[in-house]
């Protein structure tokens, strides 16, 4: 067994036993939040990290799946139908986003996604008959898959963990696949990819849909977690926050968005209980990351580790040769 397999096994074991070693329901819920935002960040990372397409409208897509779930449950539909329909709605909305925004890249893409996200946020506020406006939509129950009520914090954590692991496996497979490689190619050299025979626009479109699927999945988990959805979820701040998770953890890496999500959620929910100016702390952490590890926490830590081990190797005195 190599070091990577051992690390993965330890990480899995730690995640699977969170309700055992974490004291209290509050922290189990925090862990659930970390995983929900990790799935969201993984979704955005498909575009921003692997595709080089920075979206500032992803909270809008996240919100669509939240509202779809809430609205359908309120209308009397069952959980299964609501979840599937919310996934479809999220992906369909992403397709519309993609068609409108993929005509440009770089700053143009950012601005179009920002505008689309703001339109959805405005609709959530103003289309009161559908969204409940400022009052939002309440969800009364959580699903009970196989008889396990997700109303229990521990059960809900495990449901979130399963979705998170599925998302991780999906992203891992995608990143290693030809389509994933093609997406990264379009990020680095779109013109070259075109000349090599790739349909750059279509590749980016499929990447958007995959990103939308993960975003919708995290949105559904979120709405079940909070049992409430309001326009605040679709705000620009939410889009910026998840983008910061991706960038601070390491865009274009598998674990970067997960670490970024953990960092932001823990500072927001746990540290904010002890430090009044937690926003300042979060800002200071981001500044430190940008200065010390501009590539993000995960690749930055890996770089520093390599540097440290190389230096240690250099400091080791050479073995003296002894005469036979």
């Amino acid at each position: 067994m190599n070091a990577r397999t051992i690390s993965l096994a330890i990480a899995f074991l730690l995640l699977a036993t969170v309700p055992v070693w974490i004291p209290g329901i509050y922290y189990v819920n925090v862990a659930s939040q970390v995983l929900i935002y990790a799935v969201f960040a993984l979704g955005l990372n498909i575009l921003a990290g692997y595709g080089g397409l920075v979206s500032l409208g992803h909270a809008g897509l996240f919100g669509i799946s939240c509202y779809a779930t809430g609205y359908l449950l309120q209308a009397g539909f069952g959980h299964s139908f609501a979840i599937i329909a919310a996934l479809v709605a999220g992906v369909a909305a992403t397709a519309v986003f993609a068609v409108l925004s993929l005509r440009s890249s770089g700053i143009g893409f950012i601005m179009i996604t920002l505008a689309l996200g703001q339109i959805l946020w405005g609709l959530a506020y103003r289309w009161i008959s559908l969204t409940g406006g400022d009052n939002g939509i309440n969800i009364k129950t959580r699903p009970q898959p196989f008889g396990y009520s997700l109303a229990d914090a521990n059960h809900f954590y495990y449901a979130t963990l399963i979705v998170f692991l599925i998302a991780i496996v999906m992203v891992t497979i995608f990143a290693r696949s030809p389509l994933g490689a093609a997406l990264m190619g379009t990020r680095d050299q779109p013109r070259r990819m075109n000349a090599l025979g790739y349909h750059v626009l279509a590749i980016r479109f499929w990447a958007c849909l995959f990103s939308g699927l993960l975003t919708a999945g995290s949105g559904i988990l979120f709405v079940y977690y909070t049992q409430f959805i309001s326009p605040q979820t679709l705000s620009l701040t939410s889009s910026a926050e998840v983008l910061l998770m991706v960038i601070s953890g390491g865009a274009g890496t598998l674990l970067g968005p997960v670490v970024g999500a953990a960092l932001v959620v823990i500072v927001k929910t746990v540290v904010s209980g002890f430090i009044e100016r937690w926003n300042f702390l979060l800002g200071a952490i981001f500044v430190a990351i940008v200065i010390l590890m501009p590539e993000g926490l995960v690749p930055g830590s890996a770089r520093l580790w390599r540097l440290a081990t190389r230096r240690r190797g250099q400091k080791t005195p050479p073995v003296k040769e002894t005469a036979p």
Binding site: A182, L196, G197
Partner: protein, 245 residues
């Protein structure tokens, strides 16, 4: 049937005419050299041929098929490959990965989001074979960031060859190379089989003349001289606008 036929090709950027009624006919298997002073429109001509730019007028035929309106990406599928004057590779990846990307570009596998790219044995084998053609097989797994400029030039050529093109466009493949690197690139270009038609832009006349069978001289977007090596080199217009002696 010609490998590449260009008729009345015109392109302007605002008031600047960069390609003026260019006519070109390249026979299958031919080695054609395109020369001209800086700003003559050589790279623009390549960009028009590959579809990176659309012409204002004129037609482009590849192996008897009119490709003037065919999108750039489709031209690769029809047998056209190119290298760039400014090396355009995937710097975060290994040499092998770069060539695999070139191979996947023409394969339906490029749409597959489920399979592991590294486990596609035939793709990897073909990529290694292409690298062997340019003498880079032994460093195939090396990250591109750890390669020399000359090796990168050869990676570009390997990527083009991996696509098994019928027409290969080489934009200044010797630019910026040391004498040793130039020799390596020259060797791998000379080793390209005759079933590949090659059109090359090059300023380095020593290596270019050795390569070319026919030469086209462009000046201010116009073809002013075309013919065999000796015809073009001995033409007074070539001396006047390009060779300068």
């Amino acid at each position: 049937m010609s490998a590449l036929t260009i008729t009345g090709l015109r392109k302007s950027f605002g008031g600047l005419n960069v390609t003026r009624d260019v006519n070109l006919n390249v026979e299958p298997g031919e080695r054609r050299l395109i020369i001209g002073p800086n700003g003559a429109g050589k790279t623009t001509l390549f960009n028009l041929i590959t579809g990176d730019l659309s012409p204002d007028a004129g037609t482009i035929n590849l192996l008897g098929r009119d490709i003037t309106a065919v999108p750039s990406r489709r031209r690769a599928h029809l047998g056209m490959a190119r290298t760039y004057q400014i090396i355009t590779l995937f710097g975060r990846n290994s040499i092998l990965h770069n060539v695999c990307l070139a191979l996947l570009g023409l394969s339906p596998l490029r749409w597959n989001p489920f399979i592991d790219m590294k486990r596609q044995g035939h793709i990897v084998e073909d990529a290694r074979a292409a690298l062997q053609q340019v003498g880079l097989e032994r460093i195939a797994d090396r990250p591109l960031s750890q390669t020399s400029y000359g090796e990168r030039r050869r990676v570009e050529i390997a990527m083009a060859l991996a696509q098994k093109p019928k027409v290969l466009l080489l934009d200044e493949p010797f630019a910026g190379l040391s004498i040793d690197e130039r020799r390596d690139v020259h060797k791998c270009l000379m080793g390209i089989p005759r079933d590949v038609t090659m059109v090359m832009i090059e300023h380095n006349m020593d290596v270019a003349l050795e390569f070319a069978e026919r030469i086209t001289l462009l000046h201010f977007g116009e073809v002013i001289v075309e013919g065999t090596r000796s015809d073009v080199v001995n033409d007074p217009r070539t001396r006047e606008v390009y060779l300068g002696h």
